[in-house]
Structure formats: C-alpha cells, structure tokens
Amino acid sequence: MVAPVAVERLKLEVAGAREASRARAVDIQSLGEPYLWALGGALAFGCLMIAGFLLLVAWNGVVTFWPKPIAVVTLADGRKIAGEPIRSELFRPGPEVLAKLVPDQRAAIARSDGFAPRTLYRVANYDLYGDDFLWVTSFEARSVEQPPGMMLFERLEWGPFIGTVKSLTADGRQQAPDLLGPGELARLHGEARARWQRIREIERGDIGAVNHALEQERLRLRRVAIDQGEASAAYAEAKARLDRRQTDLGQRYEALAAEAKALKDRDARDSVVLADIAGKEKQIPLSAIVRYYAPNAMGWSDMLVVYLSRWWEFVSEEPREANTEGGVMPAIFGTAALTILLVIAVAPFGVVTALYLREYARQGRMVAVVRISVNNLAGVPSIVYGVFGLGFFAYFLGGTIDQLFYPERLPSPTFGTGGLLWSSLTLALLTVPVVIVATEEALAAVPRSMREGSLACGASKWQTIRRIVLPRAMPGILTGIILAMARGAGEVAPLMLVGVVKLAPELPIDGYFPFLHLERSFMHLGFHIYDVGFQSRNSEAGKPMVFVTTLLLVALIFVMNIGAIMIRNRLKRRFAGSQF
C-alpha cells in the first residue's frame, strides 16, 4: 500500500518529466516513422510508375484490334465521308477560319469561349484519295450517323477500304449483291483465301524446296572447282551430276509452276467491286481481302470473333505493307531465339568465370583489378558492344569462317555479316558482368562451415564445389541469369549493328539442313517498335501498332522470366531436401 502523499509526489514528478520532454527538441534522427514513410512512399511511387506504364501499354494495346464503328458524316456542303472515329479534341479556330463561317456558326463558337470540337476520322481508301485520316470540325459536319450497311475491308495492299460491296464476280460471272444469299460472300471469300494459301504454300514450300536443292548442287560444283580445279575428273563428275539434277528438278519445277498458275488463273476469276461512300468504285480480287465486317450491325460476339482473329493474325503471320500491317511472327521468333541463344552463351561463361574468381584465384591485387574491370564492363554503353560485335565477330571472325568454310559462296558473305549468332554473342558479352557478379555473391553466401564439413569428410575441393557449393548457390546464379536475360531481350541499340533488319526474308529455322541457320539476319520486336513508331509512312496508323508490339514484347519477356523463375524454384525445392 502506498501512502497518499507519495502518490501525489509521483504524479507531480511524472507531470514534470512530461513538461521537460515537451520543452526538449526531439531529435529527428532518433525517430523511425518519417523514414518509414519516406521509404514506403518511394516504393509506392515506384510501383505506381510501373503500374501506370504497364496499364498505358496494356490498355492501348488491348483495344487496338477491337472493331470500331464506322460513322458517316454529312458535311455542310452536302458531301459525305465515312470513317472510324479515332479521337476528338477541342481547338480554337483562328480568325481566318472564323471569317469564312456563317454568323450562326460564329455565334455557336463564341458561346463556347471560342473553342470548337473536331474529330479525327480514319477514312481509309488511301488508293482512291491519297489520305487515310481526316479531321472534321463540328461546324463542317451537318450530321453524323452509323448506318448498318457500311463495311470495312482489310486488304493485302493499300490498307483498309471502307464502303460497300457493289457487285461480285464468282468464277467469271457477275452477280449483284442483292441476288447473293446471306452466306454466299463469306463462302466465296473463304474459298478464295484457301486458294491463296495453297498458292503461297506451293510457291514458298514446294518450289522453294526445288530451288534450294538446285542451289545446293550449284554450290557443290563451285566447291569442287575451288578445291580441285576445273580440269579435274571430280569437277566433270560434279558437273554431270548437276546437269542431271537440273533436268530432274526442272521438270518438278515446271509441274509445280503449272499447278500454281492454274490456281492463280482460277483466283483471278473471283473478284469483287467495292464502292466507297461517294460512289467511287474499285475492283479487287476476292483473295486480296484479308477479312471484312460491318461493325455497325455487329453484336459483341461477332466483334469478339474479329478481335481474336486479328490477334491471331498478328502473332502468326508475316508483316505486310512495309511492316505496318499483318503480323509480327518473324519478330517474335527472332526475339525468342536470340534470348535463348544469349542464355546458352552467357550462362557457362559467367558461372565459370565467377567460380574461378571466387573459389580458386588467390585473392590479391590481380583479382581485385579483374573484378573492378568486370563491374566497369557493365557500365559500357551498349552501342559500343554493337560496334565491337560488328568489327570482331562479324567482320573478323565471320570473315575468316567464310574464307575457310564457305569459299564457294563468296563474295556474298555467309557469316561475314550480322546475324543471329553474332547478335546473341554480342548480347552475351553485354550481360556477362551481371551473371558474374550475381554468381560471385551467391557463392560467397554459401556458409564456410558447409565447405569445411565437406572437406573434413575427405572430399576434394572440386567435389566440394560440385556437390555442396554449386547446388546451394544455384538459385542465386539463376537469378543472375534471369536478370541478364531480361536485360538482353529488351536491348536494341547494339543489335541494329550486328544483325537486326527491317525485313528478314527467312526465319532462322526451316526445314533444310542444318535446320538452324545462325548466320541469318533476323527481325526483333524491339527494333520493330522503333521501325513502326519512327519510320512508317503514316505515323497515325503506326501508333496503335507500337503499343500492340510493346505489349507483346513485355509479355514475351514476362513469360520467359516466369519460366526461368519456375525452374529456379524447382531447383530450390530439390536442394532444400538434401540439407545436412
């Protein structure tokens, strides 16, 4: 029991202490909260930026392929235009514009503080008018409607056509569209596209195989001529062989060409006459229409079908019209192949280097210098690697390989120019510091007691590294490789020097021996973005494609990273079970 007086004194003392602490300035260094808030804020800001960027790309990319309605605008002078509304904005018409307007319009503009809205329409039909986008101001437009009959035709050439079907010629016979059954156009179009596919197959695949075989024979002859001279018996034999094969292959070629010709003739008999809103007509082969739809008369499900089919075309087809239309399949393929080759090249190099530096090398000045150099390598601008790759890999190494192994193809270079192999090696050089540093850290993190335990059991140094250290360090090493991969997949600048091209004629993998052609130049999604965004004729039409391609590149890197992370997690689990 405490005496009441003591309690009073205690109270007084506590109050005095409070007073004192209030008077003393609180040292901000000793408080945790402001720093916590700052750190949390920084993290939140970072997350917000990343999320915002991803959302921007994703939203713009996702909506691009969704069918837009077609608006028909009647202008003040009675003319009509039809197009997809792209975006609207407010603008302030200048005095020279206002001077041409009637008083009513001027009054309307004055009421809205001198601003007037205008809308950008994609009017397409570039071949008819030489313009694919058009701004229409509100005072020029008399009425805007969305008639259900307007259709959009995506064509192989000249971009889309907006209009209606005027007449259809099937197998040489002309039909008016109102005589057609409802599914007739779709059926004929499907047939025409199938024929078109078949023609492409014959020309690319079958005739390509014949030409490839012929080219091989020719190269063999040149090879014999270079090795043994044109006077030798081997040359005569090879020549006879070439002649034999030539007649053989020639016959096959003729047969295939005749088949393709027959299909093409049949194809030419199916055509369609399209008419735009002003009545101007244009006849095109039915097979030159990629797809068509009437967006104003379509429901959700039909739109979804068009949307999905556009995505499918985008990821599975080759580009058309100087890369602004069609798909990006070669670029997806090139990016993935490049990244995989990069990992194959960078992983062993980086890991072996780090192992030696950390486990075997005597830690002294020399190793310190090497380590600093490696760290500095990470800071060299990537374009410098590109120049090095071009000079050393392509011109020096590649040129030597050409002279030794491909003399028959000179002067056209085989390895002596940029290509997939040289690009992946250049990127491997670029990213190897990341792997080295990460691997060293991972090795250093393996507890000393484990090594000593292993050595005490009589294991050799190599056995210890192989069985104890490496498995333990593996997740860390893989993290380094994942970082390297992500860095490499997004890199474009050095590639522009060592092998990326706007239009690559062939994929690096095909059906001809040796199947994987590392010397070929290739397309890359990163470069494709640059090309479509900065180089295409119509930047307005190119912009959505930039977002779609960016979305695809981010998704591709994401998928590859997820794959690597899954492998890492499996390894972690495996080694977690084998602990002491």
């Binding site: 030489g130 986008f133 119509n538």
Partner: protein
C-alpha cells in the same frame, strides 16, 4: 487490277480539312511487269531511311512474283549506302541525295568504274507546320532565316518568332520550335544544301532519328516547323507552299509542281547499283530494276506517298543499264 482514273488535283487546304484530293496517278506509258523465269538469289539493300519503306514495298512486290528471291533491307541513312556498296555487302544502295564526289571516287578506286544511279521516285521535301497554323506561304529565304544561324540565303534578320515570318494575332509573339533530321540522313544534307544555301543549322533544331518522328514532333507542338519527305504527311500537320525567291509565287508540294521544278525542294530518290559497264547486269538485279520502273513498282511509290517517275525517265535509265533495247 483496275487503276483509278481522275485528274491529279491540288490538295485544297481550306479550313484544315483537305477533302478528297484524288490519288496520285502513275504514267500510263510505263510497262506492265511480267515475271520471267530463272530469277533467284539474294539481294541486300543498305542505305537511306527515307527510302526504307519504299524498298520494303518493292521487295514485297518483287517477292510475290519471285517467291524464292531473298531480299534484306537495312535503312540507317543515305551515308551508309556508299560504304556498303564498296565493301560488296549490299547490292542496292538507296540514297535520298546524289552521291558526293568523294563517295564516287572511293567506289571508282575499288571497281574502276562509276556507280550507276537509278532515279526511282520523286520526292518533294516538305516543310511541315501544325494543322492549325495559318501560314500560307514561305520563301526559301524565310525558311533559311527560320532554320539557319548563318542565313546564307540573304535574309536580313533572324526569324525567331512566327511574327517574324508574317503571322499576326496570338501567333506573332510565339517562338518557332524547330524540328529536323539527324546528320546521317540525306534529307538533312539536301535541306542544308538547297533551303539553307549550304549554311549551318541553328543549334536549337531538335534532331530526330527518323522522317516520321519529325512529323510526329510537329503534330504535337502547335508552334513547330519541321522538314521531312512529303510521304510522311499525316492529318495532324500541314505542308507549307514554298516560293524560290522573295516575292515569287508559292507552289504546293504536289506532283505537278515537283515535275515542273516550280516547287523548290523537289528531288529524285536514287538507288545506286554496282553495274560493270562491260557486262550485262545479272538477272536478279536487272529484273528488280525493271520492276521498279514498271507500273507495279511505281504504284508502290504512290502507296508510300511519293511521286512516281514518268516513263521517259524510266526508259532513259533502263537504256543506260542496257536492260531494254
């Protein structure tokens, strides 16, 4: 395929809405391209980025006739074309300006003859402004005063604001924001030579990596001006009619004025080829050149927004390459 008929009409640029100028026509006397047999092999083109899309369109058209011809296209700027031709790494060198003396010398030193130039298309280098810009005409001297710090064209004073080139109202006090190309580009060189009278660009010119970037820059900047190939025009920008002399008549950058030479910034787009004058051109390259000068080839020129060459030029160049008799 049926070609559209109708006359080439000058784009009526009233109130910002240029409506229904008819599409560009190609010379009907150009020959129709017919594929021949025995054409295969691979081609590589290194050069101008102005011609990059056009080369790609030609390559696509050519490949559709000869599926087994392999064509690779690289376009990093006109200055990259001559070294690649000399080194033999490319067969075609597209350039948006003629080769310089030093470049021709380097070629001649290696091969003993001069490279052959093919005049593949006509470009009117356009001066672009934002679509709301009311400016009606600029003389080359004014353009020089806007873009150049040396003003060799003879303009008396620097043009730093839109008021300096005659605009009134809200425009008068607004500084002109400049967009241009980087120095590897042939467009940069041509504009410097003709519009700047070989003077120097102002340091404030924002150099862009591609032709279409210039247009995008001008589209997003209301007080901007920039130069680029006419093919890159979008709905967000306007081309300014140009006059060669102070007080002279202003001409639109359309095909008619480009052919007649009235438009002061019209130029040919070249493709340089290594043709030995004593030998016949090999079939792949020969057919490609023929394709460029055919109806289909010149149609691709129109598709890319440039102006096709008339058949007289096609014939001259084809004869010079001994491709027709």
């Amino acid at each position: 395929m049926r070609w559209t008929t109708g006359l080439m009409a000058a784009a009526a640029l009233t109130m910002g809405t240029a409506l229904a100028a008819n599409a560009q026509q190609i010379d009907p006397k150009l020959s129709d391209y017919k594929p021949v047999s025995g054409v295969s092999g691979s081609l590589k083109s290194i050069g101008s980025d102005t011609l990059n899309n056009l080369m790609t369109l030609w390559a696509e058209g050519f490949k559709s006739m000869y599926p087994n011809v392999k064509i690779e296209i690289e376009g990093k700027g006109s200055s990259t074309a001559p070294p690649a031709l000399v080194a033999g790494t490319s067969q075609f060198g597209p350039m948006s300006r003629p080769m310089k003396g030093a470049e021709i010398d380097a070629f001649e030193k290696k091969f003993g003859y001069k490279p052959s130039a093919i005049r593949s298309a006509v470009d009117a280098l356009a001066v672009f402004v934002h679509k709301d810009n009311p400016i009606q005409c600029l003389t080359l001297q004014q353009v020089d005063a806007i873009f150049s710090k040396t003003r060799k064209g003879g303009a008396g004073k620097d043009a730093a604001t839109w008021g300096d080139v005659g605009l009134t109202g809200e425009w008068a006090s607004k500084p002109i924001s400049l967009y241009g190309r980087n120095s590897a580009s042939g467009t940069y060189g041509y504009f410097k030579e003709v519009a700047l009278f070989n003077g120097d660009y102002k340091d404030s010119v924002k150099e862009q990596p591609g032709s279409s970037t210039v247009v995008q820059g001008v589209a997003s900047d209301k007080f901007a001006i920039g130069y680029s190939g006419i093919g890159y025009k979008t709905a967000d920008v306007r081309t300014v009619p140009l006059a060669a002399k102070p007080g002279g008549k202003c001409f639109d950058g359309n095909a008619e004025n480009a052919y007649s030479g009235d438009y002061p910034l019209a130029r040919f787009l070249y493709i340089y080829v290594n043709v030995n004058p004593n030998e016949k051109l090999d079939p792949v390259r020969g057919e490609f050149v023929k394709f460029i000068y055919s109806k289909q080839g010149q149609q691709a020129v129109v598709k890319d927004g440039y102006f096709p060459v008339p058949s007289t030029i096609a014939e001259q160049d084809l004869k010079a390459k001994k491709l027709v008799n």
